[in-house]
């Protein structure tokens, strides 16, 4: 006997070990998680990394610029649900990068305060805006949220700032006139490239989108395949093994049916703690243990509480009694949740008995069912006669 396993590998292969990537950590970080991330990646203590950054910072602000660059370019490990803090952090990083750059420029002989500074600041701000935009777009791709018109406005604003800054820089150096000609030809070339490669870019984005859709679909398929394998195929294998034991086959088939039905039809987010679900679980346990089908029908539903818990426990005991002693081939459970009370009927068409003749020491029915209901302000009625089957009625008030 073999069980084939198609398609399930798919997911596993996609999740297989890849190149280790550098991430910024979210836990145990002092500032941006750069040192901790680097330390983890290189197998060094974060303190060593931090000291190295500090030492480099003394060399004309190089350490600061490097740290900021890491902060900007190294992605944070996914699963860090702190959008706002993250955005603030990146702004900080961009600012630090700017400061580091300025310190570096000062070293190169452009002292703070010279007229060249203002346009340079504009250039830096523009670049920062555009880059941040790109990063937001990337995040949007992960989270499948549209970046919207605000994103576009930011990108355009960044580009304008950049252009103005560059123009200003050239103007303060008196080279604007010379640059104009070059600029014009550059614009023409850039436009030409755009026209030439436009279709290519369009097709690439379309391909990307199609590829993403296909990936989502195959992931869903893999999930379904995995579920079917874990449940249905396993059960079918067990059934083949147990084919000479009809009761076992029935039990397996019913258990599987219940599971599959729950998976297919139960709406996501269904209350697991609800009364109906608890009753169905109890019935499933009885069915599993005593190999007698238990049919459950629930009308209405409500959240479970202690009193309803006792009701479920009593109903469970009644089901066990029916499955064990009645000899019936099925137990029928009907529950109705009404505004004022909850009622459960447990019925079998088995041997039945004379309720008057049950010895007082028969613990099951007397204690677990009747006593439990009375302790919880409810009541239990047992109706049975030899040869007529048994019906246990349980009710508790709500609230």
């Amino acid at each position: 006997m073999t069980v084939s396993r198609p398609a399930i590998r798919l997911q596993a292969a996609a999740d297989g070990p890849r190149h280790r990537k550098l991430y910024r950590t979210t836990g145990g970080r002092a500032l941006g998680g750069v040192a901790a991330g680097l330390g983890e990646h290189l197998g060094l203590s974060p303190t060593v990394i931090r000291l190295a950054f500090g030492a480099l910072a003394l060399v004309g602000g190089l350490g600061v610029a490097m740290y900021a660059a890491f902060w900007v370019f190294v992605p944070q490990r996914e699963g860090a649900a702190e959008m706002r803090a993250e955005q603030r952090g990146q702004l900080l990083a961009v600012a630090a990068l700017g400061v580091g750059g300025l310190l570096l420029l000062q070293q190169l002989g452009l002292p703070i305060g010279s007229p060249t500074w203002l346009p340079l600041l504009a250039v830096i701000a523009g670049v920062a805006l555009v880059w941040r935009q790109a990063d937001v777009a990337q995040r949007a791709r992960w989270r499948a949220t549209a970046s919207g018109p605000r994103g576009l406005a930011r990108a355009i604003g960044g580009a304008v700032l950049l252009a103005a800054g560059l123009a200003g820089f050239l103007a303060t150096r008196g080279q604007l006139g010379a640059a104009r000609q070059g600029l014009a030809s550059t614009v023409v070339v850039v436009l030409g490239i755009g026209v030439l490669t436009g279709p290519f870019w369009l097709r690439m984005t379309a391909d990307l989108r199609a590829e993403r859709r296909e990936r989502i679909r195959s992931q869903e398929r893999a999930e379904v395949a995995a579920h079917v394998h874990d449940s249905v195929l396993q059960t079918l294998a067990l059934i083949q093994k147990a084919s000479d034991d009809p009761r076992e086959v029935t039990r397996l088939a019913r258990g599987q049916e219940r599971e599959l039905r729950g998976w297919l039809y139960r709406p996501a987010g269904d209350a697991e703690g609800a009364f109906g679900a608890a009753l169905e679980r109890a019935a499933a346990e009885v069915e599993e243990t005593h190999r007698t089908p238990v049919e459950v029908i629930v009308v209405g539903d409500c959240p479970a509480d202690a009193r309803l818990g006792a009701l479920v426990a009593a109903a469970r005991e009644a089901m066990v009694n029916a499955a064990k002693h009645s000899g019936a081939d099925q137990v029928q459970v009907y529950a109705e949740v009404e505004p004022a009370q909850v009622t459960v009927f447990v019925r079998d068409r088995g041997a039945g008995f004379d309720p008057e003749a049950v010895p007082a020491d028969r613990y099951g029915l007397a204690q677990s069912v009747v006593g439990r209901m009375e302790r919880n302000g409810g009541k239990a009625v047992v109706r049975s006669a030899p040869g007529e089957g048994t019906e246990v009625q349980l009710e508790v008030p709500r609230g």
Binding site: E257, R261, G262, Y265, R266, P267, D270, A271, A274, G276, A277, E295, I297, V298, V299, G300, D301, Q332, Y334, E336, P339, F345, R347, R349, E391
Partner: protein, 214 residues
């Protein structure tokens, strides 16, 4: 007295299941044809004019509802009994509202199924415990607007009958329990079926998505 055997058409997209049902029904009915697609079923019912169609709720191309809609008034003497493994309430209620005279689950035993077929052929409605539960659930949704009292509400007696059916009582046992005749039970059930088919409480189709179903 020998009643003529009801002429039955089986509609189900699983051949294995059709042959199983055929074997279970045995000599109790006269199976005049089988169909495994919606289109086949419509043509077959129109041409054979059977007494009863055992109709699968779930099939490709629209399932039981599509068959009911496709046959329309072309087979006036034919009655439909839905037979399904799917207990999703919206599907079951959908087929009943489409015109089926009852609903039984595929786990029903052979003799019970034959009995259900006979009853449907005789014009009665057949409610399995599960269908009774669905109906009670549908009509007890308290936030539903009541437009037509005759159609949108169940009478106390109808409710009692449905509760007993949901508890697993056979029609005969229901009659005995309520001290009424078997015929009266049939009347109540048929009346509930009529309300189910005609009531416009939008809950009947929508409520199923709002709550736990199976």
């Amino acid at each position: 007295m020998v009643e003529p055997r009801p002429r039955v058409v089986l509609v189900d997209d699983h051949r294995l299941f059709r042959s199983g049902v055929r074997a279970e029904l045995g000599d109790a009915v006269d199976v005049v044809g089988e169909a495994e697609t919606v289109a086949e079923a419509i043509a077959l019912v129109r041409s054979t004019q059977p007494d009863v169609v055992l109709l699968d709720v779930h099939m490709p191309d629209g399932g039981g509802r599509a068959v009911l809609a496709g046959v329309g008034t072309a087979a006036p003497g034919t009655r439909f009994l839905a037979l399904s493994v799917s207990d999703a309430a919206e599907d079951v209620i959908g087929v009943i509202r489409g015109g089926a005279r009852g609903y039984v689950t595929k786990s029903i035993s052979g003799p019970e199924l034959a009995d259900a077929v006979r009853r449907v052929a005789g014009g009665d409605a057949v409610f399995s415990p599960r269908l009774a539960g669905f109906v009670l659930d549908a009509f007890s949704a308290s936030d539903a607007p009541v437009v037509d009292e005759d159609l949108d509400l169940l009478t106390a007696r109808e409710r009692e009958v449905l509760r007993l059916i949901a508890r697993g009582y056979a029609y005969k046992e229901v009659a005995k329990e309520l001290f009424i005749s078997g015929k009266t039970v049939e009347t109540h059930v048929s009346s509930v079926l009529r309300k189910l088919q005609l009531s416009n409480r939008h809950e009947l189709t929508r409520w199923a998505t709002d709550r736990r179903l199976v």
